[in-house]
């Protein structure tokens, strides 16, 4: 049973499923963030409170954390095995035509992970009471952060890297699940491209608007 559960195909399957689940969370987060653009802090704070208290969302929060942990753990195991599979590299380099960003998934992924830690310090830990701040006014917390130029630089570069990660991740997950089709695979690639541009762009524009115009 272990050989089946930890086979190369199963590991990728688990990582892809967890990844696809995480993909669904991003548009929800973006929708909530759009409320940051309103001059009135109440709608955003209300949404943040709803996310923090509604029972169904609380259950999804556990699933979301499990998704993140599973995605990172399987990703790391897979990457370490991949490094071990070729102990000696090529002196002439590798010039094969490949999906470019697929080569850097571990690095784009690691950057997102670093951002997540920062993000938890800025928001989630306030709610848990680990970091000082007002958990009922994340609107002001966010606006204060976006007024710091350095924070914006980090924020924007992390979302650029997230976009690169998503571009390969989205379409690759379908291939991993065994879904490869003459007509639908190219369609999925296009959706993947749109998604990987739209999501980081959405988050990025919100931060720029608050940074420069508020």
């Amino acid at each position: 049973m272990n050989k089946v559960l930890f086979s190369t195909i199963s590991k990728k399957f688990i990582m892809a499923l967890a990844g696809l689940f995480l993909l669904m969370f991003l548009p929800v987060h973006l929708a909530v963030n759009l409320m940051l653009l309103k001059p009135d802090p109440e709608p955003f704070n209300k949404a943040a409170r709803f996310m923090a208290t509604f029972p169904l969302i609380r259950i999804m929060e556990i699933v979301l954390f499990a998704g993140i942990v599973i995605h990172i753990t399987t990703g790391l195991i897979i990457q370490i095995q991949n490094w071990l599979a070729r102990p000696v590299g090529y002196a002439g380099g590798s010039k094969s035509e490949t999906s470019f960003f697929s080569r850097y998934m571990i690095w784009t992924g690691a950057s997102i992970m670093i951002f997540l830690v920062l993000h938890f310090f800025n928001f989630y830990f306030i709610r848990l009471g680990l970091v000082p701040g007002n958990p009922d006014d994340f609107y002001t917390v966010a606006h204060n952060l976006f007024s710091i130029p350095a924070y914006n630089y980090i924020y924007l570069s992390c979302f650029l890297l997230l976009g690169l990660h998503l571009y390969h991740a989205f379409s690759s997950a379908f291939q991993t699940l065994g879904l490869n089709h003459r007509i639908w695979t190219p369609v999925i690639r296009i959706i993947s491209l749109i998604y990987s541009i739209a999501i980081p762009l959405g988050f990025g524009i919100i931060s720029i608007i608050i940074w420069k115009f508020r």
Binding site: K3, V4, S7, T8, I9, K11, K12, F13, I78, Q81, N82, L84, A85, R86, P87, V88, G89, Y90, A91, G92, G93, S94, K95, S96, E97, T98, S99, S102, R103, M105, H168, S172, Q175, T176, L177, G178, L179, N180, T185
Partner: protein, 244 residues
């Protein structure tokens, strides 16, 4: 034309290898790549040096024996051909050519450019066959096979097991090879019977032998001399999921 060759020389599996530079100044563009190596070897033998060891057999692109990593590509920079089909007309006067063996933990170097590809035989032996008694050749039309299945099975069956997919993959993954062997048999009625056990056994063996995981980069598809497509990897995954 004049060429500078940087060739990996390694005495045996245990020895530490290194690149040795050779200069050739009389390479004809009409030569095949392996003929160019033959001419180098003749010179080496004439001057009492060890010739460069490399695998080759049919020199017609169908046996899967040859396999050299040339200038960053398995089987050289020209798509859809094996090393033996690579012509010297794709090189220019004054070029430096990097000539290396396949690099993978599961394909240890035996000598110079020759690697041990018996890992593929082990995967094949784990289930890449039909053990049911198929009897003598039946009347061709007695087992109807949809044209689509026939085509897809044939597209997979042309895999020559050269290992270029493993050599090209950044993870040294063997999934393209294994998927070709699995889909070839799973699509035909005689092979269908054992499809479940076959996919589990072959994948298990592949993992055991230390090949990497698939990152869906598509390098294998780009470098496969027989143009096996990664849709066959998706087909193998479907077979694997179906096996439960």
């Amino acid at each position: 034309m004049k060429l500078t060759l940087k060739i990996w020389r390694q005495k045996d599996a245990r020895a530490k290898g290194r690149f040795v530079t050779y200069e050739l100044d009389d390479v004809s563009e009409k030569m095949a790549f392996l003929e160019m190596l033959d001419s180098l070897n003749r010179k080496l033998v004439e001057s009492d040096q060890e010739p460069v060891a490399f695998d080759h057999d049919c020199r017609e692109g169908i046996c899967g024996s040859c396999g050299i990593y040339i200038n960053g590509h398995p089987h050289g920079p020209v798509p859809a051909i094996t090393t033996c089909h690579l012509s010297m007309r794709y090189f220019n006067d004054g070029d430096t050519v990097w000539i290396e063996p396949w690099r993978a933990k599961s394909f240890p170097v035996i000598r110079d450019l020759i690697v041990d590809r018996s890992a593929f035989d082990k995967i094949q032996a784990a289930g890449g066959y039909i053990s049911v008694n198929t009897g003598s050749a039946p009347e061709a039309n007695s087992i109807p096979i949809p044209r689509k299945n026939y085509d897809n099975a044939f597209d997979a069956a042309i895999c020559i097991g050269c290992g270029a997919c493993v050599a090209a993959c950044k993870n040294a993954s063997a999934v393209l090879f294994v998927s070709a062997k699995i889909t070839q048999l799973a699509l035909l009625p005689q092979g269908r019977v054992e499809a479940r056990d076959r996919v589990r056994a072959m994948v298990e063996k592949m993992d055991e032998l230390g090949f990497g995981n698939c990152s869906n980069t598509g390098a294998c598809e780009a470098e496969c001399p027989k143009e096996i497509k990664i849709k066959s990897i998706a087909a193998m995954k479907r077979e694997y999921y179906k096996a439960f």
